[in-house]
Symmetry: C2
Subunit: 208 residues, 2 copies
DNA sequence: AACTTAGATGAAGAAAGCTTCAGTTTAGGA
DNA sequence: TCCTAAACTGAAGCTTTCTTCATCTAAGTT
């Protein structure tokens, strides 16, 4: 009857000495590698520990359960993207909507593409019950930043800024995902990057 | 040792009598319901069977394994969307790129929104190893249809039609997903629908 | 050097859910 | 009506993977 054993926990123990910090880093890195190599379905805590060069017990000393481990990795990655979006939103206040859109897309892509492999590997995690929450959180963060930026535009938008922000987020997420998952044939990526800027700019222009 | 055990199988048995056809339909419908109610993580074959009013054994008579069951449901749904896209692409040959974009988006949304609940429930399935293939297949189908349509545009595009098609697909997928997953506060949907048309039209206009 | 706390280990317990199959019921033709 | 094949049933086997914990080693302190 007791409803669940909380699924979202903080690290069980905080690293104090140097070696434990190294273990945590190794575990996170190993998780990403295993995710890429065998996929989420075949990722087991034992396998991750082995890859990290530690024992399962050690893994469980820092992550209360498998779900928390996956969440931590996902959060790490999305946090980087959210930071990039927030920084860009801060840096381009007061400009034209078009300039904002371009800056936003550029920052987003740079963050995403700086760790292409991680991005791809994490798509499978982001749709889990657990991952969903993390994605949503980060989505809200980015949304707030974009809205704040748009409000300072030197040229007013005809559409609600919240709507514009949502659409921009949808565009970026959708096109970039397609870009990454299409086994990107080399030049495909740079090509779609350019297109993404075209889309975003054309959209905000149409919304003025 | 034996790696294989094929994951993508045809129905184990083809329905012959009326009652078995009914069972299959009930199972598919039940899968969708269970998916919505408890999510993919807690979806078990036994639970699906119970909901469908049959026994697990019956379920396994038509679906070789859990994965195939999920795939079948996903395929059913995406097939509807792909059909809509193909029909629209066929019906709007020779028009302007803008008209095409608008028609495309409209058809896509109509198909997606006609079964909002199913759409939402299936996002969690589409990222599994198994689901991925189905999504990719349908993506290719839609892509081919859109490309064929764009080639007949009465006003040439400055960008490769394949690229334009990919971007349009990315836009539609990204924005609609955001629409559905944001707990859509009623008017949100119609609002974003309008925006999606704006985005698509603005983009193709910019690509002329 | 002795002591204390942090960190690491991995065999084994326990839960969970998929899948099977031997046996039973139902449908429809001869 | 009788018979054969299609359908259905569901308890139980089997596998898999998560998670724990008693025990051991390393680090830092006095």
């Amino acid at each position: 009857m007791a409803e669940p054993a909380q699924r979202t926990l903080k690290p069980r123990k905080r690293p104090v000495q140097a070696r434990s910090t190294a273990s945590v880093a190794a575990i996170l890195e190993a998780t990403l590698q295993v995710l890429l190599e065998v996929g989420k379905e075949r990722l087991t805590t034992t396998r991750v520990a082995a890859r990290a060069g530690v024992s399962v017990g050690t893994l469980y000393q820092y992550f209360p359960n498998k779900s928390a481990l996956l969440q931590a990795v996902l959060r790490d990655h999305l946090d980087g993207v959210a930071r990039a979006v927030e920084a860009a939103s801060q840096a381009h206040r007061g400009e034209t909507p078009q300039a904002m859109a371009k800056a936003l897309v550029t920052a987003f892509l740079k963050a995403k593409l700086s760790r292409v492999e991680a991005s791809k590997a994490l798509y499978s995690v982001s749709d889990d019950v657990d991952g969903g929450k993390v994605v949503a959180e980060m989505g809200v963060r980015s949304h707030a930043a974009i809205v704040a930026m748009l409000k300072t535009a030197n040229k007013p938008l005809a559409t609600r800024v919240e709507t514009v922000a949502s659409v921009l987020q949808g565009i970026m997420a959708g096109v970039s995902r397609r870009m990454l998952e299409s086994g990107y044939p080399e030049g495909q990526v740079s090509s779609l990057s350019r297109e993404l800027i075209v889309v975003a700019c054309a959209y905000v222009r149409a919304s003025c």
